[in-house]
């Protein structure tokens, strides 16, 4: 658009006080104003985004009591709300996570009709159950090593402890352990 009116810049000329590098008081104030506005917008945006990152989580604790050892029968107990299998063999306890390592579905425990001999990491072991995942068909041996499907790693094993105060079992989800872990009580 061509216009015959004097441009706004021309109108400003009389106010020029001749700062260095062509900077005038007015253009300095323009920039200051614009800078302040942009900083304010950026700051407020940051605050709004940051407000959406929770500072406090009301999630279940990752280290929790599950009851005294004698509460657990021989064999396996599935703690539903924790998606955790607790195994008991006489005085020995261990815990395997029920969360599939592929994409987090809850695996199902499949009891085998007959014990099966399988070779896991070079060792021949007899297993009585397996874990199968309904989501994409991963299959795990009794101690959690995957042998079919997309799951990339074994099911997690977690540390078990005995509470000093009341003798309850404590599961510690923050501390994965290896498959030789056993807690003897």
């Amino acid at each position: 658009m061509k216009t015959t009116k004097p441009s706004p810049d021309a109108a400003r000329q009389p106010h020029t006080t001749g700062g260095e590098g062509g900077q005038t008081r007015r253009s300095f104030l323009d920039r200051l104003g614009l800078g302040t506005l942009l900083t304010a917008i950026a700051g407020q945006t940051w605050m709004m985004v940051r407000a959406l990152v929770p500072n406090v989580l009301y999630e279940p604790s990752l280290r929790f009591k599950v009851g005294t050892p004698d509460r657990f029968p021989e064999g396996v107990t599935f703690l539903e709300d924790r998606r955790l299998f607790i195994f008991r063999n006489q005085k020995m306890f261990y815990a395997i996570s029920g969360v599939c390592t592929h994409l987090g579905c809850t695996v199902k425990m499949i009891q085998l009709n007959q014990p099966q001999k399988v070779e896991i990491r070079g060792k021949l072991t007899e297993e009585r159950w397996e874990f199968h995942c309904p989501c994409h068909g991963s299959k795990f041996y009794a101690e959690g090593t995957p042998y079919a499907g997309p799951a990339p790693t074994p099911l997690a094993w977690y540390r078990l402890e005995v509470a000093a105060d009341d003798g309850q079992l404590i599961v510690n989800l923050m501390e994965p352990v290896n498959q030789d872990f056993r807690l003897t009580v």
Binding site: P54, P134, P150
Partner: protein, 438 residues
């Protein structure tokens, strides 16, 4: 003419324009119509060129907005009450089943129609610039890709809201795919869920994304999409007309374009009219375009409503983190991805790459990347813009169709041939346990 003015016509057609001027004026003056061209080519109007799929997408979005707003009055986004409120909508609220069903079918249809629209645009070379100045159809294609992704996200976030088993496990798998992304995976999932678990924080986030953020985004993108079409001089098929006329007529005047449809820059309709043979190729948008629009609206609303009555909207048991339904399936338009994440865990020596990363992030990432840059790689001639199966684009069309076909096949396998524990079953085989299909 006057004799024809029966009472009926007076009642119904009072707005029918009497002259070309009135016809153009009625478009420009109208709040709802001003974004239409005042004249439009017959080719752009034809069903056979576009199948009106983009328009149908917009109508479905409209249906979803209207039904969605009513649902918002009835639905409670809390973990304790979400499931019960959907149950109420389904069984207690007057016509609730219809509202919810229409919203649901509308969402499924919208995903399908938006996808088909993209396929149409590709196969007709609709992202190619023609001969007019200032065209930027590749940009509009990119806007379209973002619209497609937004539609998928809308649907995915809506899927969680009923808080049933279907919802819970689809979101578990979906957000764990985000977890597999390198570097930012964990933070993304944390921010998306507002924590580490799928609980109240996740529900309210998905709810706000679904009801406010994503619909607004789609609306803005849609406005931009339409504005670009006007700036690009209408649909790509109109460029072929201009090319034809260039051959028929003496060399055209450089500074002018054929287009009536793009109100580009300072050109007036009259200047441009000199180049497009109006009467042979174009017609006033009012009433031709407006009437056809009404027909498409009618067809879309009818189809969606009929399907709502026929297809039942499922509602499974309430979400139960302890028990994964078996099989646990994503909505059908994500089943090709679920197939991919299930089949793409690769083991090279001691190294294991989770299928979540390969099939859930790398492969879809490459596909989206390809979609985005494709118009810039396409070197075919301008004669292939706006033409079905343009002759010098046959190679790219075949590549594209093969990819589409692969996605469809994976979707069909995932939908009909996956049973308990994701095992392969023929559709006529019975599954060993007693699970439901979805």
């Amino acid at each position: 003419m006057a004799a024809e003015k029966t009472i009926w016509k007076k009642l119904i057609w009072t707005w029918k324009p009497e002259s070309e001027f009135e016809a153009g004026d009625s478009i420009v003056r109208n709040l709802l119509l001003h974004w239409f061209p005042s004249k439009i080519t017959f080719r752009s109007l034809s069903y056979r060129y576009s199948f009106w799929l983009g328009t149908a997408s917009a109508i479905l979005f409209g249906i979803l907005t209207v039904t969605g707003v009513v649902l918002m009055f009835l639905y409670v986004p809390s973990v304790e009450r979400a499931y019960a409120s959907i149950k109420d909508i389904e069984f207690a609220v007057a016509f609730g089943w219809f509202l919810r069903g229409l919203h649901r079918i509308g969402a499924h249809l919208m995903v399908a129609v938006v996808f088909l629209h993209a396929v149409r645009v590709f196969l007709t070379g609709g992202y190619k610039n023609g001969v007019a100045a200032n065209q930027n159809r590749p940009l509009n294609w990119i806007i379209g890709v973002v619209l497609l992704l937004s539609t998928l996200l809308l649907s995915f976030t809506g899927y969680l809201l009923p808080w049933d088993q279907l919802a819970f496990w689809a979101i578990t798998v979906g957000t764990n795919i985000a977890l597999a992304a390198p570097v930012v995976g964990e933070q993304t999932r944390f921010l998306l869920l507002g924590g580490n678990t799928i609980a109240q924080g996740a529900l309210i986030r998905f709810y706000v994304l679904h009801c406010v953020f994503l619909p607004m985004l789609v609306l803005l993108l849609f406005a931009w999409h339409m504005w670009r079409i006007r700036k690009d001089g209408g649909l790509a098929c109109a460029d072929q007309l201009a090319l034809d006329q260039k051959q028929e007529k003496a060399p055209p005047i450089k500074s002018k374009t054929y287009s009536l449809l793009g109100i580009a820059g300072t050109r007036t309709v009259h200047v441009e009219a000199a180049l497009v043979d109006e009467d042979r190729h174009a017609t006033p948008a009012s009433p031709s375009l407006t009437l056809r629009l009404l027909v498409v609206i009618l067809a879309t609303v009818l189809l969606a409503s009929l399907m709502t009555i026929v297809v039942e909207a499922p509602l499974e048991e309430p979400a139960n983190p302890a028990v994964t339904s078996n099989p646990a399936k994503a909505p059908w338009y994500f089943l090709w991805l679920q197939e991919l994440v299930a089949d793409t865990t690769v083991r090279v020596g001691g190294l294991t790459l989770n299928g979540a990363l390969v099939g859930g992030i790398i492969v879809p990432g490459i596909l989206v990347g390809l979609l985005l840059v494709w118009p810039y790689l396409d070197r075919s001639s301008v004669r292939s813009a706006g033409i079905w199966f343009g002759s010098d684009r046959w190679r790219q069309n075949i590549v594209f169709l093969i990819i589409v076909l692969a996605i469809l096949i994976l979707t069909i396998v995932g939908t009909y041939m996956r049973g308990p524990y994701w095992g392969l079953y023929w559709p006529w085989e019975t599954w060993p346990d007693l699970p439901r299909k979805f």
